[in-house]
């Protein structure tokens, strides 16, 4: 049977904030743009972002983008690229205004301006008093933004391929990306989408861990596709564990809760963050708070019958503030913890949340790979959002900077694609051998016979990741982990689908996702084992200090032979002075 083909100017894979903000730029021109998403766009995980998006609007307190930049560089533990960070913090301001113009229902201040709340790691005047920089739509900011972006794309008539799963990128012998092979989930039929430019915006890979705030769909599809196309993943060892997931379940309780005045207590009722971060206390950056919670529990000061969590107190704020500013949290607490946050504290524990690393790009969203002593752009390929690594988050992301990242760089990628299309009027010739390779990845699951089930390997893999690549990492724990993961990876060819039906076969989708989980998970574990220092979210008791002499560099993991490479951090901003590395205290 002949393979169905479609041609577009641009192909965007993923319909979260990054993908949709790239798509809207393109759709507003006369470019033909296709958005492929394995779920209906408003189901993308951007919808779950709660707290808000950072921009130095100075609506509540004095602010400017340079302070925001300082906080982001410091928050990144000096691993973030300062040119990209400057770009993002400057762009933040027009980006938020554009969102507002696109209809996002931001909460408001009495003077009619956008409401901004306090968030962790945000300061005035380069490390001074707490800033109010995080623009919020109650505690449903991601939902409000995602829906508005989808709506704008509907207006602009973007072509959506809803519930299509991207199998692999297609590339020619020079490494240029020609589009992607996708599968219509409803029919199980493959479809080849040719495009002059392809944007990966597939989000994170939080499903590599067992306890996670991430949705079922966050399986690192784009990152794994990049890996299989020979592109390395950058800084994958930096995985953020959000301090406040609902204990035992992982659902997120936004940092906005602490921004509004909530705080953490241990079994003795002590506000323990005062010991770990005397100034910022509960609003210290996320890695600091997560480690503090884990330490409290490890040292026997946890709450509950198993002493396995701490408590987040909100009830002192009063019912009115809680229901006005944090309605979603109150609802989640009630449903998943059986607790009314307006009257009782919430049981919380760190949960796998966000991968700082990803596909290496420049600030225009172009994917870049090492070439000789320098770097070069992969023709026709872009990445934006959590799947990309620009890098603005370095070793640790600040709350409110992820929505910002997806929006700023999604937009930048879209705009650069428009320019790129001016220069490249024609599609490059198709490369049949690459299509065949992608098809093989799909047809591999038609193999019949007995074998390991997807579930079995998936469960074992996620548990191994949790046990061996979690919050605290030693050589021994991680070394064992990498061996275990490799052994599990060797069993992948033995996995069999028992259900070979075509129509909406979710098992087939999960099989394809399983391979992506393995590729991204092993990238995390391997990069982590190699980095012998503690920096940001990567915390090693055996190397407790940050080592700027040897390790102020980005890691690059290649799938082929699990090879590692490194490249320097870009410390020179675009227009301002460099922020030199300093001890990171809050």
């Amino acid at each position: 049977m002949a393979l169905n083909k479609r041609r577009f100017d641009a192909l965007i894979i993923g319909a979260g904030g990054a993908g949709l903000n790239a798509a809207i730029q393109l759709a507003n021109t006369d470019a033909r743009v296709a958005v492929v998403s394995k779920v209906f766009p408003t189901r993308s995980h951007t919808v779950a972002a709660q707290g808000g998006v950072n921009a130095a609007l100075a609506n509540v307190l004095p602010d400017n983008w340079h302070w925001h930049m300082f906080d982001t560089v410091k928050g990144s533990d000096y691993l973030g690229d300062q040119d990209a960070i400057e770009f993002m913090c400057r762009e933040a301001i027009p980006t938020v205004y554009e969102l507002e113009h696109n209809g996002v229902p931001f909460s408001r201040l009495d003077d009619g301006k956008i409401y901004q709340r306090a968030f962790g790691g945000q300061s005035q005047d380069f490390g001074g008093a707490q800033a109010a920089r995080t623009c919020a739509a109650a505690d449903r900011t991601g939902h409000a933004i995602l829906h508005a972006l989808y709506q704008q794309n509907v207006r602009a008539r973007t072509h959506f391929f809803d519930e299509y799963f991207a199998i692999d990128l297609i590339r020619d012998d020079e490494g240029a990306i020609l589009g992607a092979l996708v599968m219509e989930i409803e029919t199980g039929e493959p479809l080849l989408i040719e495009a002059k430019a392809t944007v990966l915006a597939t989000g994170g890979c939080g499903q590599v861990y067992r306890t996670t705030s991430n949705a079922h769909i966050n399986t690192g599809d784009g990152m794994a596709m990049a890996l299989r196309a020979g592109i390395p993943l950058m800084d994958m060892e930096f995985f953020q564990f959000h301090p406040t997931g609902i204990a035992g379940r992982g659902m997120l309780i936004t940092e906005g809760v602490r921004g509004e005045g909530g705080y953490l207590v241990n079994r003795d009722g002590e506000r323990f963050m005062e010991r770990y971060a005397p100034n910022a206390k509960d609003l210290a950056s996320r890695d600091v708070v997560s480690r503090a919670i884990v330490t409290e529990v490890k040292e026997g000061r946890g709450c509950g019958p198993q002493a396995d969590h701490v408590l987040l107190k909100v009830d002192h704020l009063g019912e009115e503030i809680v229901s006005k500013r944090l309605p979603g949290i109150r609802e989640s607490g009630r449903i998943f913890a059986g607790v009314d946050a307006a009257h009782e504290p919430l049981p919380v524990f760190p949960t796998a949340h966000y991968v700082m690393g990803g596909i290496p790009t420049d600030p225009y969203g172009r994917v870049i790979v090492p070439q000789g002593t320098g770097e070069e752009v992969v023709p026709g390929l872009y990445a934006a959002g959590e799947c990309a690594c620009v890098s603005v988050h370095g070793a640790n992301r600040l709350g409110g900077n992820s929505l910002l990242d997806i929006l700023v760089f999604g937009r930048a990628a879209g705009l650069d694609v428009i320019e790129n299309l001016q220069e490249h009027k024609n599609h490059r010739p198709m490369n049949e051998s690459s299509v065949e390779a992608a098809m093989a990845r799909l047809t591999r699951w038609d193999q019949k016979g007995e074998g390991i089930s997807i579930r079995e390997l998936r469960d074992e893999f996620r548990k191994t990741m949790e046990d061996h690549a979690g919050v605290f990492r030693t050589e021994e724990i991680m070394g064992e982990g990498v061996e275990k993961l490799k052994a599990l990876r060797d069993r992948l060819p033995e996995v069999r689908l028992h259900d070979h039906s075509k129509v909406f076969n979710t098992a087939r989708v999960e099989a394809l996702e399983l391979e992506n989980l393995f590729d991204t998970g092993i990238a995390i574990a391997y990069s982590a084992l190699m980095r012998k220092e503690s920096r940001g979210a990567h915390s090693r008791p055996d190397y407790p200090d940050r080592d700027d002499t040897n390790w102020m560099k980005h890691s690059l993991y290649f799938r082929e032979d699990d090879r590692m490479d490194y490249k320097p951090v870009r410390t020179k901003p675009l227009t301002v002075e460099t922020f030199p590395p300093k001890a990171r205290v809050y």
Binding site: G103, P105, K113, H216, R249, T506
Partner: protein
Amino acid sequence: MKFLVSRFNPESDTSPYMQEFEVEVVRGMMLRDALLEIKRHDESFAFRHSCGEGVCGSDGVNVNGTNKLACITPISELTEPVEVRPFPGRPIIRDLVVDMTQFYQQYRAVKPWLVRDDPMPEQEILQSPEERDKLDGLYECILCGCCSTACPSFWWNPEKFHGPQALLTAWRFLADSRDQATDERLDALEGPYKLFRCHTIMNCVDVCPKGLNPTKAIGHIKTLMLKNAV
């Protein structure tokens, strides 16, 4: 605990049937967890789900006769045997997965985006907290479809009646102080079908997992229309 789930695979079945599963229930278990347990036993079982916390709106199903989001429905609140069926009135693609095309078409039909004729200011369009409060109870919709697929009027006329979801969205923009397309929006809703198939049955309000009230929104649209007409 005994579960009866609706199964249908178009490649092998002629019509849907109920299949029984026994699921071991643990404390705090949600319906989605039970469905995942069933999938663990039988990978051919298909249903949509994603975020697991009631914000993505993927996993709406009909449980013991009522539309619910599986991920925020505690098993402890359900009576045994738990009967799980796909959304009423939607064509079944497979098992619990239904074709929501018409639902999305109705959503898109109300022009669900902010329309602004004035030139955009350099900064935000100002909006007072009171004006913003009018959007509460409207913008939180997650497009899960529980309401529209519980609505008899939508069962009978899904291609012409907007349904509670789309009408809630229509009011979300009519109620937004920043929107400048009130007349066009109201005109577009005239006629016997799009808006006026709503007979205030209120099944939508009963099932909305986010506690929203489409009937109230529809009432506001009718009132505004009436005001503009006289």
